[in-house]
């Protein structure tokens, strides 16, 4: 916690939160665009309901406002690490399925993957500022993807993207919450910023 008390650490934290919020916002925007593209290119129904994807943490949570900053960061980090793996799988599947024919979808997926990765880096940095070493990725990732059929893989991808969009919203709110100057919180005073 000592590190968090220094002015530079506070500035760094505020900067990370600020940019994390904006990154979450852009990520959500891009994921929404990607969802449209994905549904179209995969031949899916945009209104199709997808059951919860295994290994994807749910964005919805009870007593969200009671969570501590560290708890929020850890849940976000776990979720985005999982998304990074899932999106990497999707990108590989998409390349296997469509090859280089649909480069736009591949670039969009790669872009979202990069953003997920960048957001995970933000979370790790914030955890370091909280004097918490980020947990090891080993064993925390999603289970190995079961052998699914093509359609199931498409639906799974749809579910991943939808859940990512949800998480983007939640992450922005989490970071905004972290940026708030709260005496109960261990975080330094921050400036609220709306996406």
């Amino acid at each position: 916690m000592a590190a968090a008390d220094s002015p530079s650490a506070a500035l760094r934290r505020r900067d990370l939160c600020s940019r994390g919020i904006r990154l979450a916002g852009k990520m959500r925007s891009d994921v929404v665009d990607l969802l449209d593209t994905y549904v179209e290119r995969q031949g899916l129904d945009a209104s199709a309901s997808v059951a919860a994807v295994e290994g994807v943490p749910a964005a919805a949570v009870e007593r969200w406002d009671e969570q501590t900053g560290t708890q929020r960061l850890l849940e976000n980090l776990a979720a985005y690490r999982a998304f990074r793996v899932l999106l990497a799988q999707m990108l590989e599947e998409q390349r296997e399925q469509l090859g280089e024919a649909d480069a736009a979808l591949g670039r969009a997926l790669a872009g979202v993957l990069l953003q997920v990765s960048a957001f995970a880096y933000h979370l790790e940095e914030l955890l370091r500022l909280e004097s918490r070493a980020p947990p090891s990725e080993e064993g925390s990732g999603p289970p190995p993807a079961p052998h699914l059929g093509l359609f199931e893989r498409k639906l799974r991808g749809l579910g991943v993207l939808r859940e990512l969009a949800q998480w983007a919203v939640r992450s922005a709110r989490d970071l905004r919450q972290l940026a708030k100057p709260s005496p109960g919180s261990s975080s330094a005073p921050g400036m609220a910023e709306s996406p």
Partner: protein, 919 residues
């Protein structure tokens, strides 16, 4: 000789050995090699190469390291740089690689004679890469989701080597593949970057001599974005005529970047942009209402954007869109002025009203019509007259008086405020003073001194003064608080403008004050044509016409007259520009002068054509001063001469026109009884009445000689007559012929007409009387009157009539003169022929000579002489003469006077022989 063949054989053997060795070994192998092989060297560094000989070659060819020669290209490296390391190795060292070149060869001198190449290497010289500097990056948005980042840097000096640059970038937790430039070495573009994460960027340069990295650049790509400009810009007019609403679409997501904007606009035709205050558009938006615009005006709009916090780059300006504000009613009335033409009728005016079309920013729309109201101030009872016109002028015929004219402009929205012009009956108010002009900034400024009383406004009239066109009046209004303005119009340089300033008061108007002005002056386009009006001996009056206003190009400040003689210096005289005449003085007489004239404006002068004139030889009055005295003197001399002649007229007459006695009046003629009387003698008698016949010549001839003279001596005369007749009566210069010629006759011969006249006027003036000597009574008389001495009848008559006491003297002189003539003019033959007469009577010589002259002087006389003896008729030539003249010979010869008259005239003349005695 032997040693030479030995060398050749040895060399051939060595070459054969080498080839044999290579072939037998199965490989192409040389006798040595160089270390290092194809080195890449830094420019300026030192370098050492080793040439290592193969042991096998030593055995076959006796080749050793001390025989090695190093060469760069074909140039031998100095031996000081060699070092023999051992029997088979030689090194060469270069302190500066800049002296190196490719190839570097190792050669051997076999037996010290034949140089053989052993090995060669290529040397590459260059520089290690410098650290790339000035790395900078920018993210260009190319689509809504694509943000390539382009980084540029300074690659540093040229390395002369193949140098590779790589743009490296990474996130703290993740590396990305390098960006490798294509075709360039100073920039590279990363296809897509992610925002909100710091990116570390640096450049790595590497070649064979080393590697260098730039300083890393850590940045969030969102901070270096140059977004695409907003698009789909639209402009819509609002309810207000001064507002236009802009709408657009942003091409960057709000989630990525919040934007601020710049909006610029201008009117159509204007090149200068105006800008909406940036603080009004510093927040994200997609529309904006631009206010404060002019009604009914077309505007052009453009917009750009950048990150809201100002970090990054402005986008390019968007495409331009136009929009027109709605109309509004005219903001002011049109400026109005008038021209009053009172020349046609003293009691009424022709009033030309004119007003200017409103400027677009004043009209605020399309002016549909003008409403003109004319109200006579003098008769308040009469209603104002209204006119609706579409043009900007109106001509009215009105009686003299004071009027108030109002003009209103009207468009679709409404009417303008009225413009009022008071037209007084006379411009009786105070005028402005000191109207002056000044060209300034390519425009013409007019200034004036305001009158003391309050002026509502001023009207400045001006027109271009030209010979080729009328003065078309232009005008402008100026507020009453100014005392100077620029003329608003197309004022041309080198043209004369007449500018008039009128002050307008609330209750009248002042008279106009005018000034002429030029925006810019130039030299005159031509010079004056000078010519002389009058040229004297030492002066010349020059005259010229003023240049026309179109030729002046400025104010003529002066004229200069240059004049010179053909070989003299030119003299210049400056003349006031108002003059059109000048007198050159102190000129040289009778000299050709060339004169020309220059007209000067402030900008210079131009010369007119040359004109030449010659001064006169004599001055005015000089000729008169000479001629008049000469004439007067001549007249005086003539007068004196006349007076003298008058006084001496008798003397002159005696010398020049001696009075020749008329034989017909002689007494002897009257007396002679043998002269037959003619039937018409009485008429002659009437012409010479008795008593008046006073002047006669008398030749006395001895009576003894009468017969011989009359018969013998007259024969030669007849012969002479015949000769003369055959020679047509002209003096031939032969003997008697010339002797017979009298001076007068000679003159007469030269003029036929005069001869005829003389002949016709011939008067037989002589009477020869043969009488006794002295007091003796004459026994026999031979009388003749055939003298042809020319006589002026009138004079003769007048003399005859006036015959006074001097007649005796005159007669004596006459005879003397005749005698003189005989002596001087008579030729010798003539003299010889007359000897007979001399012998007869010397005293008769004179009379005979006179007779000769008389007979020779006229042919008719000779004929008459013959006819006298034959009693023939008068010659034809005499018949044509006047009656009085023709009668004379007959009077003498054929018509004896009557018995009553004869004694009266005869007596006085018979006094003595050979002379004449006064009666």
């Amino acid at each position: 000789m032997f040693s030479g063949w030995n060398w050749v054989a040895h060399g051939f053997y060595l070459l054969l050995n080498i080839c044999t060795f290579e072939v037998s070994g199965g490989l192409v192998q040389s006798c040595g090699h160089i270390i290092p092989e194809s080195p890449v060297l830094a420019l300026g560094s030192n370098f050492t190469a080793l040439c290592i000989l193969n042991e096998s070659c030593l055995d076959f060819g006796n080749i050793y390291a001390n025989q090695i020669i190093w060469k760069i290209k074909n140039k031998v490296v100095p031996k000081e740089q060699y070092r023999e390391i051992n029997r088979t190795v030689s090194s060469v060292t270069f302190n500066d690689t800049s002296s190196l070149a490719t190839p570097l060869t190792c050669n051997i001198l076999a037996d010290g004679q034949i140089e053989q190449n052993i090995y060669g290497i290529a040397v590459t010289i260059g520089l290690p890469p410098e650290k790339p500097k000035n790395l900078s990056c920018i993210v260009h948005q190319v689509s809504k989701l694509t943000y390539p980042m382009t980084c540029t840097w300074n690659p540093g000096r040229h390395t002369f080597l193949d140098t590779h640059f790589r743009l490296k970038y990474r996130w703290p937790q993740e590396n990305f593949p390098d960006c490798i430039p294509k075709d360039v070495n100073n920039s590279c573009t990363i296809a897509d970057v992610q925002f909100f994460v710091n990116l570390e960027v640096w450049v790595e340069a590497a070649n064979a001599l080393g590697k260098a990295e730039s300083d890393p650049l850590v940045l969030d790509p969102i901070e270096i974005v140059k977004p695409l400009p907003p698009h789909n810009l639209s402009v819509n007019s609002g309810i207000l005529p001064t507002v236009l609403k802009l709408s657009w679409e942003n091409r960057i997501s709000g989630a990525v970047m919040k934007l601020k904007f710049n909006i610029r606009y201008r009117t159509i035709g204007d090149t200068n942009w105006m800008q909406v205050p940036p603080e009004d558009t510093a927040s994200p938006r997609t529309s904006f209402s631009v206010q404060g615009l002019r009604p009914y005006t077309e505007y052009v709009f453009s917009i750009r954007c950048m990150k809201e916090d100002g970090v990054g780059y402005w986008s390019d300006w968007s495409e331009e869109k136009t929009g027109i504000t709605t109309e509004d009613k005219p903001s002011k009335g049109p400026p109005i002025w008038r021209i009053v033409d009172a020349s046609r009728s003293p009691a009424s005016w022709t009033l030309h009203l004119m007003w200017k079309a409103l400027e677009p920013f004043e009209a605020n729309g399309v002016i549909l019509q003008y409403e003109v109201t004319v109200r006579a101030k003098s008769s308040l009872s009469s209603p104002p007259e209204k006119y609706n016109v579409n043009t900007t002028n109106l001509t009215l015929k009105l009686p003299n008086g004071t009027y108030e004219v109002t003009v209103i402009a009207r468009n679709r929205v409404g009417a303008s405020p009225p413009s009022v012009l008071l037209i007084p009956a006379s411009n009786s108010k105070a005028p402005v003073k000191n109207v002056r002009t000044l060209p300034k900034d390519g425009k013409l400024w007019v200034g004036w001194t305001a009158p003391s009383s309050y002026v509502l406004k001023y009207v400045i009239e001006w027109c271009l003064v030209s010979n080729s066109s009328d003065c078309i009046i232009e005008w402008q209004n100026e507020p009453g608080n100014v005392q100077g303005t620029y003329l608003k119009g197309d004022i041309k340089p080198f043209k004369c403008y007449l500018i008039t300033v009128y002050p307008l008061y609330a209750d009248g108007q002042g008279s106009g004050q005018s000034v002429k002005a030029y925006l810019q002056q130039d030299r005159p386009s031509k010079g004056p044509t000078v010519q002389t009006k009058k040229v004297g001996k030492a002066e010349a009056v020059l005259t010229w016409n003023h240049l026309t206003v179109d030729e002046q190009n400025g104010f003529i400040r002066s004229y200069t007259i240059f004049y010179k003689t053909v070989d003299g210096n030119e003299t210049a005289v400056t003349v006031d520009p108002s003059k059109t005449e000048y007198t050159l003085s102190s000129l040289t007489s009778d000299t050709l002068y060339t004169v020309r004239m220059m007209a000067y404006t402030d900008e210079g002068g131009r010369s007119g054509p040359d004109f030449t004139f010659t001064t006169q030889k004599f001055g005015k009055g000089e000729i008169e001063a000479i001629v008049v005295p000469v004439c007067l003197a001549f007249l005086l001399i003539v007068l004196l001469g006349v007076l003298f002649c008058f006084n001496k007229r008798d003397l002159i007459k005696k010398h020049i026109w001696p009075i020749v006695p008329d034989p017909s009046k002689s007494n002897i003629a009257q007396w002679s009884p043998q002269v037959p009387a003619k039937h018409n003698f009485s008429s002659k008698d009437q012409m010479y009445p008795e008593g008046s016949f006073t002047d006669v010549s008398v030749v006395e001839i001895e009576a003894d000689d009468k017969k011989s003279f009359s018969e013998q001596d007259l024969k030669p005369f007849d012969l002479l007559k015949k000769e003369k007749s055959t020679s047509e009566g002209h003096s031939s210069g032969i003997g008697g012929s010339s002797c017979m010629s009298s001076p007068r006759q000679s003159v007469s011969d030269s003029d036929e007409g005069e001869t005829t006249q003389n002949t016709s006027s011939t008067v037989q003036y002589s009477t020869v009387v043969l009488n006794g000597y002295r007091d003796q009574t004459p026994v026999q008389v031979f009388s003749r009157s055939e003298s042809t001495q020319p006589l002026l009848d009138s004079e003769e008559r007048s003399e005859d009539h006036a015959g006074g006491g001097d007649s005796t003297t005159q007669r004596q002189q006459y005879f003397k003169q005749n005698g003189g003539q005989d002596e001087t003019n008579t030729d010798r033959p003539c003299f010889e022929r007359t000897k007979q007469i001399i012998s007869a009577n010397e005293g008769d010589l004179v009379g005979f000579a006179q007779l000769q002259i008389s007979s020779q002087s006229s042919q008719p006389l000779g004929l008459g002489l013959e006819k006298n003896t034959q009693e023939a008729a008068l010659p034809d030539g005499v018949q044509t003469n006047t009656e009085g003249q023709t009668m004379r010979p007959e009077t003498v010869e054929g018509n004896p006077p009557s018995a009553d008259e004869m004694p009266k005239s005869y007596l006085p003349q018979t006094v003595r022989q050979g002379g004449y005695m006064p009666q």
